[in-house]
């Protein structure tokens, strides 16, 4: 029923800033950023939109890799980058507004950093059966 067009592209960390700049130059807005832990890596998604055309670029980086901030390109990105840092422990370099771990006050440090469910018969859901 929905008429929107979505595309996801996997890119290298080295081309991230250039790609995000190209979205900015095209007049796109930053829709969201989020992180997922996949084994020992972080999958980070950056989503943009212009005229209902929805584009996502994705990087997959080892957990201890420092990721460059895109807040110099999209000022509002600081909210997502601080969130990724506070929940997952993603190291983000050069945020324009760095809360230094105090944006989200969690009782456990980096609560989403631990591995989540990996598949059928594994993980916390298995405990329920």
């Amino acid at each position: 029923m929905t008429i929107e067009d979505q595309q996801t592209t996997v890119i290298d960390l080295s081309s991230l800033i250039g790609k995000v700049e190209s979205f900015k130059n095209q007049g796109c807005r930053l829709v969201q950023m989020h992180c997922t832990r996949i084994e020992d890596n972080f999958e980070i998604n950056y989503s943009f939109e212009k005229d209902l055309s929805f584009r996502t670029v994705r990087i997959l980086v080892p957990m201890d890799t420092e990721v460059p901030s895109v807040s110099g390109i999209f000022w509002g990105a600081f909210i997502y980058e601080n969130e990724m840092h506070d929940l997952f422990g993603v190291k983000v370099r050069g945020m324009n507004v760095d809360f230094k771990g105090n944006l989200i006050r969690t009782s456990v440090r980096y609560p989403f950093r631990e591995p989540v469910f990996k598949g059928e018969g594994e993980g916390p859901c298995h405990e329920r059966s």
């Binding site: 929905t2 008429i3 829709v31 969201q32 989020h34 989200i104 006050r105 059928e120």
Partner: protein, 359 residues
């Protein structure tokens, strides 16, 4: 040169229904910087999905928010349906649209009441919430729940609305609209409302777009972004134009919400008149294997439910990007240079939903 002082605003404050903390850096009475911090009601719902089977998660998705719960559930369901290629019956799309718009009415009336209360206009606050009761009664009658509806499911909806009830809902909209016009007249033309909101907390259009403002916060600054234009549910079959105001102040954001009350009524009327007969759900077999960014227009703006499945009955990743989270950077910008006394009105003007944002 004035000395800078820091005043904590929240997490408990008379105008805040939910906890958010702002450190306001002041020079005399002028705010030069606002530093937000959140996390007081973080619930970890995004990880809870790994402990539930994907059809069960609808109940959790609905509980992300106590105001627009139906839209959360629907957006999640749309994501799963898109991944699995489920064709939802047309009647279910229309019912989803009707309940979404009643949710918007309920949310906007709640906010208008809180906004009036924040300005010290208590009589207006009570009148808004009295009208909101009418909406909650309809939601309760048609879904069984006033706040948490529980009527959406993967593959359609759990409940149908009988034709006679739809007819009555249609006729009840006429007197309801008249009462809303009386309220709208006060919000748009009363001197005390204008005095507290005009020229306050200005967010220029270019900044609103660059900072990612969504919903009435963006549309109050001339950014005509409304996810209903993507045509999800039955919106693609209804005539709809987003409400846009251009001044970018608290008054404009308020005016957008006031005018959207009538857009919602119009959409409900259209949906009831066009709703086709037929099934309200299809049986869903199998498990989701793939990913999708499901988007919808919540009362506060664009909502994103990212869901990723791996072919098992459990979703491996759910990401809920709520409009309040993305409206925080615009809020920080619009408070720079404002007077301390205007902070409550400016904070309220983005309609912050902290429960949603914290997930």
């Amino acid at each position: 040169m004035s000395r800078k002082i820091v005043i904590p605003f929240g997490p408990q404050h008379p105008v805040l229904p939910e906890p958010i903390h702002l450190d306001l850096v002041l020079e005399d009475e002028t705010v030069v910087e606002a530093v937000p911090s959140i996390g007081y009601v973080h619930r970890g719902l995004e990880t809870l999905i790994t402990k539930r089977e994907y059809p069960e998660y609808v109940y959790i998705a609905e509980r992300t928010c106590g105001i627009c719960s139906f839209i959360h559930g629907m957006t999640y369901c749309q994501g799963i349906e898109q991944i699995m290629g489920v064709e939802v019956p047309d009647r279910a799309h229309y019912l989803r649209t009707i309940w979404s718009e009643y949710s918007r009415l309920h949310s906007h009336l709640l906010w208008l009441g809180l906004f009036a209360d924040g300005m010290g206009f208590e009589n207006l606050f009570m009148n808004c919430w009295r009208q909101r009761e009418t909406v909650l009664d309809v939601l309760e009658e048609t879904t069984g729940g006033r706040v948490i509806q529980g009527s959406c499911k993967v593959g359609g909806v759990r409940k149908d609305i009988p034709a006679a009830t739809l007819e009555r809902m249609l006729s009840d909209l006429d007197p309801f609209e008249i009462k809303l016009k009386e309220l709208a007249d006060i919000f748009l033309h009363d001197d005390s409302v204008i005095h507290r909101t005009k020229g306050v907390g200005i967010l220029p259009p270019d900044e609103a777009y660059a900072l990612g403002a969504v919903g009435p916060t963006g549309r109050g600054s001339g950014v005509a972004i409304d996810m209903r234009m993507t045509g999800y549910a039955a919106y693609g079959k209804l005539n709809f134009t987003p409400v846009v105001e251009n001044d970018g102040d608290c008054y404009s954001r308020c005016a957008v919400r006031v005018k959207e009350l009538f857009t919602s009524i119009d959409l409900i009327r259209q949906a009831i008149r066009q709703i086709p007969e037929g099934e309200t759900e299809v049986k869903v077999k199998g498990n989701p294997d793939g990913e999708y960014f499901s988007r919808s227009e919540q009362p506060r703006g664009e909502l994103v439910h990212y869901v990723k499945g791996n072919g098992t009955k459990h979703i491996v990743r759910s990401r809920i990007r709520t409009p309040t989270l993305t409206n925080i950077p615009p809020l920080v910008k619009m408070m720079q240079g404002c007077e301390l006394a205007d902070v409550p009105v400016i904070v309220l003007s983005i309609d912050p939903c902290i429960g949603c944002m914290e997930r």
